[in-house]
């Protein structure tokens, strides 16, 4: 009896599958071995995980220790000499392009590295500190027989502050008079215009420093004071510069000290953005003479500044009164000036751009009836690519008394502080 081929093939296939299925199914013993092996692998992985966890914890501890050590080191450095000593400074370069509006007068076009200044300060302890300002003006100082030469090397500040308590500080040395806006704060990035205000320059007279002692501090929230007893101005008494205030600056350079100067200043900053301030100085003899021809002098100064958002406004008035018939005879018994300066400052990304206008009037011969005042209008722009660096442009239009130069033109400037 023969089977059909198809049935035979199916039968053979079924047997093979049955045999195969029978071969793939592990036995109980094999299953148990597999489970034991897998359990061993799990235990091994758990051990590795535990070791990793321990390593992570140790690493965290090391990182923590490193962080603490670095913090301790940076803290201990604060007591070193280096950490208690500071260097700073500022500088300014100017270009003037002025046309003299008076017939026969000479124009003025110059490029001047006007100031290169270095500050050195040191904190002796929590209550006593030293500050100094060393300056080179006009790029070159030459020692000549006749005193000519473009520049000067000056010691503008050299003082020590002693904190009497937390509100009041005593000061001794060479320091700036606390009068006006610019006399104490005149880094180029802090004011508008290439040149400093002609009123502060010619009347106050900025920059003005003396040697002596004083005290300053806070009387009540927002009300600050500054008083001092110092050397004084010594104005010439003859020649074309007779009794001119600016010509009286001795700069504490072997300064004649026959008559001291008493200075007091108050400023109120009780509202953010607003400052009201004023100063008074009395000198019993502005000529520092050893004889009886004393010329007493009184300076009165007042200023206000207001800043709100992008808008700013500054105004200042200053006046000297000299008790001298000789000064009166040439109108210099009264010397005064004032200015007003609105401004508008905007941010352009990381940079700042400020626009300003200034009207200034000053008269060093205000005591006579002749028209002897100067008037000047400046309009311009300051650009700060960084808060401590400034590029400046301004245009000026000046009106001067008869016989005096009258300069109209533009100015370019660059300045920095650090």
């Amino acid at each position: 009896m023969f089977m059909k081929p198809s049935i035979l093939a199916t039968a053979i296939a079924t047997c093979l599958v049955a045999q195969s299925a029978s071969a793939a199914s592990p036995t109980n013993e094999e299953m148990w071995e597999l489970i034991k092996k897998q359990q061993q692998q799990i235990e091994a992985l758990k051990n590795r995980l535990n070791v990793t966890d321990e390593k992570v914890e140790v690493t965290e501890q090391k990182v923590e220790a490193t962080g603490e050590m670095l913090e301790e080191r940076s803290g201990s450095a604060s007591s070193s000499w280096v950490e208690r000593t500071r260097i700073g400074g500022y500088g300014e370069l100017k270009y003037h392009n002025w046309s003299n509006q008076k017939e026969g007068g000479s124009d003025k076009k110059d490029m001047d590295s006007h100031r290169f200044v270095l500050f050195f300060s040191h904190q002796f302890n929590d209550r006593i500190r030293f500050f100094s300002e060393f300056e080179l003006e006009h790029g070159l100082s030459k020692d000549t027989d006749d005193g000519s030469g473009p520049g000067e090397v000056e010691l503008e500040q050299m003082y020590v502050d002693f904190d009497l308590n937390e509100n009041h500080t005593a000061r001794a040395g060479v320091f700036l008079m606390p009068i006006g806006f610019l006399n104490e704060t005149h880094e180029p990035n802090t004011f508008y215009g290439v040149d400093r205000s002609p009123v502060e320059k010619n009347i106050i007279p900025t920059t003005w420093w003396e040697g002596g002692a004083g005290a300053h501090g806070e009387l009540m929230p927002g009300l600050n004071y500054d008083v001092s007893l110092t050397s004084g101005l010594k104005v010439p008494t003859s020649g074309s510069n007779a009794f001119l205030i600016r010509k009286g600056r001795q700069k504490v350079a072997k300064a004649t000290a026959e008559a001291p100067a008493f200075t007091g200043a108050l400023s109120w900053t009780g509202i953010a953005g607003l400052e009201l301030g004023g100063a008074i100085q009395y000198q019993s003899d502005l000529t520092q003479s050893a004889n009886d021809n004393e010329v007493s002098a009184l300076l009165l100064e007042a200023h206000a500044s207001w800043q709100s958002g992008p808008f700013g406004l500054k105004a200042l008035y200053a006046r000297w009164d000299l008790d001298s018939d000789d000064a009166k005879a040439i109108g210099r018994d009264e010397q005064m000036g004032w200015y007003i300066e609105p401004s508008y400052k905007i941010s352009v990304g990381e940079h700042n751009l400020g626009f300003f206008a200034r009207y200034a009037l000053w008269d060093n011969e205000a005591g006579n009836s002749a028209s002897t005042e100067y008037k000047q209008v400046n309009v311009g722009v300051n650009y700060w690519p960084h808060e401590d660096v400034v590029l400046k442009f301004d245009y000026q239009n000046q009106s001067s008394p008869d016989g005096k130069n009258e300069y109209d033109g533009f100015n370019l400037g660059f300045g920095y502080q650090f």
């Binding site: 670095l70 937390e166 806070e218 953005g273």
Partner: protein
Amino acid sequence: MRYIIFSLVVLMCSGQLAARGTYQTPQDFLAEVFAQQVPKPQKLWIVKDLKQQVKKILGHRLGSLRLRYWREDQKTVWILEEVGKEEVITVGVVVDDNKIEQLKVLIFRESRGWEVRHAFFTDQFKQATLQDNLKLDRSIDGISGATLSVRALRKLARLALLFHQHVVK
């Protein structure tokens, strides 16, 4: 003249908030903010992108790798320092909901510019937020003669808001 001098002496001797010195210790500030229940400080590491953002705000690197801060729910408190003109000013800043709740000058070491510690100035920072360009959402009116102190406080306000964003997400 005598009256003026007498008045000045009386004012000089009057007890009022110090111009220069420690107005409040950081510990007292924290105790005041958290009503004596000061949480355990946490640490923020200043690395990678945050490091660059800090440098952009300050103009220099931060003096430390990490900062301690105190957190309660969505509020964080930061004790930060920055140089004004020559010395470091220590400031406490409370940030809540990405806005400055309070900014207070704790220790002032400069010889001038101390007006920044008064409420008439620091109140300007209340509710200030940080814009995408890392600047404050408002202009802060300065104080004449305290420009560098004002600048330092502006930077610290921005830093506190930036750090808050990094830890409260």
